[in-house]
Symmetry: C2
Subunit: 427 residues, 2 copies
């Protein structure tokens, strides 16, 4: 028979079992942490009507969509978990309790250019809190606590959650009459770490921003010091603008509560340069960095938005949320060997029968399973060496070899594969 | 702004949080049980090259495929988890340890006619053991033990795992020279429960099967009694055919070991009428029924196959596996109210602040979370009644209301929402 070459599409992650075990541990850690904060599970379809999914989309996003027809129906694969959430909340508004706290962990699809470390199918791990009409700003202070707990649980210490408020930036631009240039200015500011202050000033000049306005912008993004000092300096900027004041008020409150939520000072920071996209977030914004691996970019981002579902409903649904792009994060952490599985195998014990009658080995395995211990039996007919090699390759920590002697005596030796130690047990 | 109606495609399950919690509990129970038997996790892409995915498909299956082009690439969504497994094993043959035991729980897609209880996107929960060249028949005896543990863990008692061996049927047909009619005969036999014995005989006659052959077929499928009696009667049929003898040998061994694997006699049965599809399985076949709800059909099925990946590789890879169609099963169990969530909420405790300064409530919640207790804080400004109603609707079992008195005294009352009992705690 002629064979088809078995292959997986570029941009699609498919892991060997050992890596999959690690991936699943990370995913479970994220999920458990989301649950610890009382977020409810949601699982929406991967396929939606294009009309529904793309109600808002446009430009770059739309080009990347996996879109196709089945029969007469125009379908698309979801490209994030936010649009499905918006659809879900608008659709089920009457059946939900608000604030609606949901998490969703699932695959999304973007037909990006395939390149190393870029994925077309990837997991997002999202949480959002959606208010009905209003949503307390304290929710914005809780998000960093979730981020902190996730990365702490994953074994990281040296990471920083950066916080800003879009209202500060928007208010600043309003106060210097640069509202219409704000998109461009944000784009330029965003590059300051890469291109430096002088280049930023030059680009702002090229945009025909007045000297005094440029001074104010630079003065704003150069604010430094401790969190308290930054807040103090923002107050002292003397910007008489309602949006700015609102933003400063919100930031002050959030900063006050972040510590109470248990996030150590060393793990968060007010960073006035982060903006996160240009049209979606309207208040608090978050980014998270591994300090020794800044090149990974933000590993957990999000923010506050005014209105989740305006394309579907008249209800005002403000929200705040964060998202972890798990597939890319895993790829990077794995590549840099920054993370290790807590348990490297699924089975805790491998039972190795060296006799023909499998009754006793099976009973031993069954008894272990009944005690809640993941156990497998090597059932194929191989030499002992091959069976031990199997345990070794799968990193199964314990083996029990069962021969005639063990069957007769009813005593079994549990061998620790790492230390070689043996312990006698009866079952 | 004109609104798009937020809607979900027919045939796509999207649950409210309370149902999703139950769904996830079932899914987790299945996964944990698969792990207890040492199956390794696998997560393959939902999108594959059509050429790869459809290497074997044809007829009905192919019509149901979600197939489309992206750029110049002909893509399809997976319609089961077996073809992706075959691709994976063929592709990674050199990097796997055999017998390769894997589980996969994921969504698959079939563009079936949309009707109540039929889904186009649904979860399959599969396990398979794949051998390299050969695979011990004892693996076939272990599968019922996995099925038994899954449904036991889900809270069921009254279910039957039915077992047959395709070699018995094939051998029988060979011995009566009806090999070329076997597909048709199987189709007719399969209906015996519905149409009765007389109708079956009549249809076999219409197929031009000789009277003596019909007698043998009926004699075969009418074999009854205990498992031992059935095996004995099969031996006494006197069918001199190698395939039949092989099948009987395998069945005898499996039956011997099933009990050793811990499956009680009342939960399994040899049923000589089940055949499971027509071209895939080659040996043992399984079906599972809830005895009081036979109308659900088989809730867990599978079997032994000669060669997993012949479309991709020359390697002979025999396997045995089972599959649970979770989405349909959940739909039915939920509709019949046959299953309940062990925990109906994600949060165990709702902290309800009745003061402006949230420091103490947040600290209480943080301290609970640090103890591993899922906790949320009601952060929006509402009357106590509304906050209690929220806890009630989300079925959160405990609330802690925090007012001035509690802050002053440092003593907090944990209220059991079901009994109304209150217990004082300090944090």
């Amino acid at each position: 028979m002629s064979k088809t070459e078995p292959r997986t599409l570029p941009g699609f992650m498919e892991l060997l079992p050992e890596e999959q075990i690690l991936f699943d541990q990370i995913k479970t850690t994220i999920e458990k942490t989301y649950q610890k904060f009382g977020f409810l599970p949601l699982d929406t379809p991967i396929i939606e009507l294009s009309e529904v999914l793309l109600a808002k989309a446009g430009g770059e996003t739309e080009k990347q969509i996996y879109r196709f027809e089945k029969g007469d129906t125009d379908l698309s694969l979801r490209f994030d978990l936010t649009v499905p959430l918006a659809k879900f909340v608008a659709k089920n508004y009457g059946n939900l309790s608000f604030p609606f706290r949901r998490y969703q962990i699932g695959k999304v699809y973007r037909g990006e250019k395939a390149q190393k470390g870029r994925f077309r199918e990837f997991y997002q791990c999202d949480i959002d809190v959606i208010g009905d009409g209003e949503l307390s700003i304290i929710n914005d202070a809780e998000m960093p606590s979730v981020i902190y707990n996730v990365f702490k649980e994953l074994g990281f210490d040296d990471f920083t959650i950066k916080i800003n408020n879009r209202k500060l930036l928007n208010g600043l631009f309003q106060s210097i009459n640069q509202k219409e240039n704000s998109v461009e200015i944000l784009r330029i500011i965003d590059k300051i770490e890469k291109i430096g202050k002088e280049k930023v000033i030059q680009e702002l000049k090229e945009l025909n921003v007045e000297e005094t306005a440029i001074e104010k912008i630079i003065g704003f993004i150069e604010i430094s010091g401790t969190t308290e000092q930054k807040i103090e300096k923002l107050k002292n900027l003397g910007i008489e603008n309602e949006t700015f004041k609102e933003g400063l008020d919100e930031l002050t409150q959030i900063v006050k509560y972040i510590g109470i939520f248990g996030v150590p000072e060393k793990n968060f920071e007010v960073d006035l340069t982060i903006a996160r996209g240009l049209d979606y977030y309207t208040g608090t914004v978050y980014e998270t960095f591994l300090n020794k691996y800044r090149e990974l970019g933000s590993i957990c981002s999000g923010g506050r938005y005014e209105n989740l579902a305006e394309y579907y409903t008249d209800k005002k649904l403000p929200g705040v949320g964060i998202s972890i792009g798990l597939t890319r994060l895993f790829y990077k952490l794995n590549e840099l060997r920054l993370i290790e599985a807590k348990q490297k195998s699924i089975s805790k014990v491998l039972v190795i029968p060296m006799i023909d009658d499998l009754e006793v080995p099976i009973k031993v395995a069954t008894s272990l399973r009944e005690k809640g211990i993941n156990t497998e039996i090597f059932l194929n007919d191989k030499k002992l060496k091959a069976k031990m090699k199997y345990a070794d390759k799968l990193k199964i920590p314990y083996v029990i070899v069962i021969g005639e002697d063990e069957v007769k005596s009813g005593k079994f030796k549990i061998r620790n594969m790492e230390t070689g130690e043996e312990k006698e047990e009866t079952f």
